[in-house]
């Protein structure tokens, strides 16, 4: 028995050692980060306030990002993309998020729409809809959310019905990023009208061309923050789509939509990290200049402790976002980590942004200083891509599966 125990321990040690993750970035990853950071300082930071104020879609910036190769990073090489890993994309999005999360959401919106096609699309579908993204400067949108179906994806009311070899889509989506400018939409529909049909068989996902007859895009919605991003509603009125445009299996749409999140949640977590870091850096810089009671305020422990807590949250969130990206890249199911990373990233972003305003004091409440925008931009991280509450549902469920 003792011998078996000793062998068992050695085997376990070997498994643990071979699964250890390296914490350092490769030279290439550092270059990618540096190049993105330079782009952010030169192109995004100077213009972010303008786009936040006016809500004007940052076409020029997105165009430059596309030229740099920042937009279609995870499209596989055979369709013209870079085939970069999720970890690489997370590094890029943290830098973009540092510049402006509204603009980075517009840029990342492409990756969101492309994910289901990359994961479940047929070769022809990928060639047609991913290929064009790398050849031309285009934007795409992911359409799942509806006015009455956000967290409860299974209560989607947009329908599709088969007519011959085609499908007809009716319904509407809401809060769709890049909606007003998209070349195509990923659309999630209920294909089985029977309310008792199981979720795994009742939904079908399609790629719908934005110029298809019957597609009507709504007005730009004016939101609290991330105002540079374009969010709208879109209606589908007897929109005819070919069977070739089904993403995944007919009836298997739910699985496709859920599978995307394992890929997109780490990246949204990455953007929230960028904001958390920006909040920390702006607060730190301000605290070195602002004086109260004879010294720069960072020398007062009350402020220094706030900065310490902000640093703490940023570092922890970063580790989780990295881990969830690495797990995905190494081919393992990362759902548990993706939810933790996304949730904690949202918490770090919101708490850091709020503390940043606090450090700035009265100036933090004012539009001439960078703090208030961060707070307005941060809130949505607790809502989109799965609310904080949904993330807890997932984490709790994944946690229990280890015990049952």
């Amino acid at each position: 028995m003792a011998l078996l125990g000793r062998i068992g321990r050695q085997v376990c040690q070997r498994i643990v050692c071979s699964r250890s993750i390296s914490m350092s970035l490769s030279d290439e990853q550092k270059e990618i980060m540096d190049s993105t950071r330079k782009f952010v300082y030169d192109e995004i930071i100077p213009k972010a306030a303008y786009h936040d104020e006016t809500g004007e879609y940052p076409w020029e910036i997105i165009r430059s990002a596309w030229d740099l190769g920042l937009m279609n990073t995870t499209i596989p090489e055979e369709y013209g993309g870079l085939g970069l890993s999720l970890m690489d994309l997370s590094l890029v999005l943290e830098e973009l998020g540092y510049g402006c999360t509204g603009i980075s959401t517009a840029i990342a919106g492409n990756s969101l729409a492309e994910s289901p096609v990359i994961i479940a699309g047929s070769h022809e579908l990928k060639k047609k809809y991913l290929g064009r993204m790398t050849e031309e400067y285009l934007v795409a949108a992911y359409g799942v959310t509806e006015p009455s179906a956000g967290s409860d994806v299974a209560s989607t009311r947009t329908t599709s019905r088969k007519v011959g070899d085609e499908h007809v889509i009716n319904g509407g989506k809401m809060w769709i990023t890049n909606c007003g400018h998209a070349n195509w939409f990923f659309v999630f529909t209920r294909s089985d009208p029977d309310p008792k049909a199981p979720a795994g068989k009742a939904f079908t996902a399609f790629v719908v061309d934005a110029d298809a007859p019957g597609v009507t895009v709504g007005r730009k919605e004016w939101n609290m923050g991330q105002r540079a991003s374009d969010t709208r509603g879109v209606t589908f009125d007897d929109v005819v789509v070919s069977s070739d445009n089904i993403v995944g299996q007919p009836g298997g749409g739910f699985k496709v939509a859920m599978a995307c999140f394992d890929k997109t949640r780490p990246t949204v977590g990455a953007m929230s990290l960028g904001l958390a870091r920006r909040a920390l850096e702006e607060a730190t810089k301000y605290s070195m200049e602002r004086k109260t009671m004879g010294k720069p305020i960072f020398m007062h422990q009350a402020i220094n402790f706030m900065l310490a807590d902000m640093a703490l949250k940023y570092e922890l969130a970063r580790l989780m976002v990295w881990k969830s990206s690495l797990e995905y890249d190494e081919g393992r199911r990362n759902t548990y980590y993706a939810s933790i990373g996304k949730l904690y990233g949202a918490i770090a972003a919101n708490e850091n942004a709020s503390d940043c305003v606090q450090v700035f004091g009265g100036n933090g409440y004012n539009k001439d200083y960078p703090a208030e925008k961060l707070m307005r931009d941060a809130k949505i991280f607790q809502i989109y891509e799965g609310t904080d509450q949904i993330q807890r549902l997932i984490i709790g469920r994944e946690h229990m599966t280890k015990y049952m």
Binding site: K30, S35, L68, L82, V92
Partner: protein, 255 residues
Amino acid sequence: MSGLRVLVGCKRVIDYAVKIRVRPDHLGVVTDGVKHSMNPFDENAVEEAVRMKQKKVAKEIIVASCGPTQSQETIRTALAMGADRGIHVELAKGEEDLQPLAVAKVFAKLVEKEKPDLVILGKQAIDDDSNQTTQLLAGLLDWPQGTMASVLEHSDGVLKITREIDGGLEDISVKLPAVVSADLRLNEPRYATLPNIMKAKKKKIEKMSVADIGVDVTPRLKVQNVVDPPVREAGDKVPDVSVLIEKMKEKGHLK
């Protein structure tokens, strides 16, 4: 000329945005753990060479850097911007105090080896602000030089250069082969795009030591002392010119 061969030099320096701190021994600045990047003027040099290649004026761009192991990153950035291959003259321990004359000698050897038609360097490095290497190199090679270039035009073996000088702008023309130093307004350096960063991985970087090329890089100048500039003191506001003159006399600025 069916396409020039261009040798571009680049240097790894402390990033321009970093807050510089003097070392406790006052013999230099803190470099450990500090962010480094390509010297900004060298970016202009690399960019110019890449544009020449795009216009089919140049047919090969070789980028060279003389520095520690990490200089490789700087060379990779240049490769990602569009240079074809790199040369890394790697400095051993104890050789890190590299001064312009030594760099010029190293580059003179590289010119001997690679036989380029044109050498483009950055006007000066932002760490020592020497602005000497180009001139020294031209002297060692006995080649014409065009320093502080803000415009570069080539036709038939002759370079028309606009130089930024104290009095304004000076136009000169030099016959190739020549050494040129790039000024900030020569061009707007491109970002290394992600696809190019990936492609740069496959480009070759040749490594050699200072001993391999037979150059003595012993420093000729010794840094005695490095200090922060004096803290700016508050000034005095005076009500009128007569008080101003009085105060200036008091402080000995006026006799």
